[in-house]
């Protein structure tokens, strides 16, 4: 009797956690997987869905890119994106949708009855207003760009990010693909961290990596890294729901932090020559080295 009462009170405590998930655009396989897992956890899930990544115009973005990286590098990135990036992104999304079983997930999304609050972009004032209304205990950035303080400070307990790469060892974009490209096995993985004003610099709550094996590709590694990351995120949310602050992840001392952004033309070419990872040494050598 006592234990059943204990269970009830535990469920009640767990149920109180309000989680607001931030997404951009129509959710695909990876996003839906994360949303469904959070929904299945001890959470009352709210979704804020941005229609666009950013309000900054293309011209303004291009100008700031040139300013930050130089004309040649910026031009190389645009070329890379135009020639390969868009097509490859589409291809990867299709593979990931199949791996995540997107048709089932879309069925769940419709059945779940979750009505996302639509906002122009995640840092928009409407987004802030939506979050003020939700009053989330936890904010989870499921997809989208950098969050500004007026957004990530809306969470009562923490704003969390699923970063695909081992932060702060590697920060930025396409970190798993960069790990393959630069033979940096230690970069490949997932990090759950608290969002602060930097790029993937917040306090790390969990870090893990999928097994690397011959035959893997950037997409398959991303898939498994995401599964492990989402499972860890749910465990962390359960901790919060039990009013337990998650222990900080112990990081090795003297870990140098690296930052990588979008692929440039050379990176795209190398990536494709490596069979999108399948011919990369970092994966092949797993068959003969521990």
């Amino acid at each position: 009797m006592q234990s059943s009462t204990g269970n009830i009170s535990r469920v009640e405590i767990l149920k109180r956690l309000r989680v607001a998930a931030l997404i951009v655009g129509e959710p695909r396989g990876a996003e839906l997987w994360a949303l469904r897992s959070i929904f299945a956890g001890p959470c009352e899930l709210h979704v804020v869905q941005a229609l666009h990544y950013s309000a900054v115009s293309i011209l303004k973005r291009a100008r700031s890119q040139v300013k930050a990286h130089g004309l040649l590098k910026s031009f190389s990135r645009w070329m890379g994106k135009g020639l390969f990036g868009v097509r490859e992104h589409k291809r990867t999304q299709q593979i990931l949708d199949q791996l995540f079983g997107v048709s089932d997930l879309r069925g769940w999304w419709v059945r779940s009855g979750i009505v996302p609050t639509k906002v122009p972009h995640l840092n928009h004032i409407y987004s802030r207003a939506a979050l003020e209304k939700i009053q989330p205990d936890i904010l989870v950035r499921v997809s989208g760009g950098l969050l500004k303080r007026h957004i990530f400070s809306q969470a009562k307990l923490a704003t969390l990010n699923i970063h695909h790469g081992q932060a702060p060892l590697i920060r930025g974009l396409s970190n798993i693909a960069w790990g393959i490209l630069e033979n940096r096995r230690e970069w490949i993985g997932t990090t759950i961290h608290v969002i602060d004003e930097g790029i993937d610099t917040g306090t790390v709550l969990w870090r893990g990596a999928p097994q690397l094996a011959p035959g893997d590709s950037a997409a398959s590694l991303y898939f498994r890294a995401h599964l492990e990351g989402v499972a860890a995120l749910v465990r962390i949310l359960e901790g919060y729901a039990r009013s337990e602050a998650p222990p900080l992840w112990e990081l090795p001392r003297r870990e140098t932090s690296n930052y990588r952004s979008a692929f440039d033309l050379a990176a795209w070419l190398t990536f494709l020559i490596l069979g999108r990872g399948r011919r990369a040494r970092v994966l092949i050598e797993r068959a003969i080295e521990c």
């Binding site: 997107v102 094996a213 035959g215 599964l227 492990e228 080295e289």
Partner: protein, 328 residues
């Protein structure tokens, strides 16, 4: 024509190639078993598993052939083993430990049943996609699809149903070797590292416990492996680990990643011979584990780094327990 070309090719290979082949079979009926034995018997010496290290290190004029059967289907005990026994051919049977306990069909038999009924399968259920999923996700997806379409594998079929531990013990007592093929038939490289290591350990200890003797070897389900997992199997007490690399086995292969050539019951003698001959090049065939010809790069890398490789290469450098098993 194919048979003639295959015979000539295999005759040539037979003269120039040292080592031998480890045949990876799954389900055969009596007649197919006889046919496979007849084809290989003409060119190869059939060996027992414990002769393998010696035959790899000290090649003889006639190459060897070791038969291995994966998955532990009931037909292995009712059709294959009696026929092999009658012909005096030794073999290794790799069993999926937990499936033998619960007598549930393996996931790919349910998938086959699904495909038979539907003709084609939805995109998220293609074999290529399923084999990339962690076991829990895979099982969930296949089970839901089976429930949705009202399909399941026929456990009355000896090629679907699994052996009982009783039958496994009987095979062992009759002189066949019993190996572990995973606790579940999970593609171990898709699991978290911890889950994969645990799976290997549990499967080996379960086999050991059930047959009351050391587990003879470990074969990776679907063939996907990493050095770390293979080394773990060695540390769990098996002297040899098998993959599905489609090449001949010789002394350049360490005992923890022995290649195996996959054959099927319906393969004609010509196809068997041609496949065996072609496999000698170590370049042409695709690895059935889905990694294509990546094994060529792996073997190149292994040859380059053999002096730097911390991983054991000879029986002498294996853990004492495994070494004793081989010597015994």
């Amino acid at each position: 024509m194919l048979n003639a070309i295959a015979t000539i090719s295999l005759t040539l290979v037979h003269h120039f190639k040292t080592g031998g082949i480890i045949a990876n079979e799954h389900i055969l009926d009596r007649e197919q078993t006889r046919r496979h034995v007849e084809v290989f018997g003409r060119w190869f010496d059939f060996i027992q598993l414990n002769e393998l290290p010696e035959r790899l290190n000290y090649p003889r004029k006639r190459p060897f052939c070791l038969f291995t059967f994966d998955d532990g289907k009931r037909s292995n005990a009712t059709a294959v083993a009696p026929e092999l026994e009658r012909l005096g051919v030794p073999a290794v049977f790799f069993v999926v430990s937990s499936s033998l306990d619960c007598q549930k069909p393996l996931w790919f038999d349910r998938y086959k049943a699904l495909r038979r009924k539907l003709g084609t399968v939805p995109p998220g259920l293609t074999l290529h996609i399923l084999k990339q999923l962690p076991y829990a996700v895979l099982i969930d997806r296949v089970e839901r699809a089976c429930a949705h379409y009202g399909v399941d594998a026929d456990l009355e079929d000896d090629d679907v149903a699994l052996m009982t531990w009783e039958q496994v013990r009987a095979l062992h007592q009759r002189g066949f070797s019993i190996g572990a093929h995973g606790f579940t038939h999970a593609v171990l490289t898709r699991e978290t590292k911890l889950a994969a290591l645990e799976n290997i350990e549990k499967s080996i200890s379960k086999v050991r416990e059930e047959i009351g003797a050391p587990c003879s070897s470990f074969a990776f389900p679907n063939g996907n492996y990493t050095a770390e997992l293979a080394q773990h199997a060695i540390h769990c007490g098996v002297p040899m680990v098998m993959t599905t690399e489609p090449t001949w086995a010789d002394k350049s292969f360490a005992l923890w990643r022995l290649p195996r050539l996959q054959f099927f019951g319906k393969d004609s003698p010509g196809k068997i011979k041609l496949k065996t001959a072609v496999a000698a090049s170590g370049l042409v065939l695709n690895n059935p584990d889905g990694t294509g010809k990546t094994y060529r790069a792996i073997n190149r890398l292994a040859k380059q780094s053999v002096s730097l490789n911390p991983v054991v290469h000879e029986t002498e450098s294996l853990p004492a327990e495994s070494r004793h098993q081989i010597e015994a």
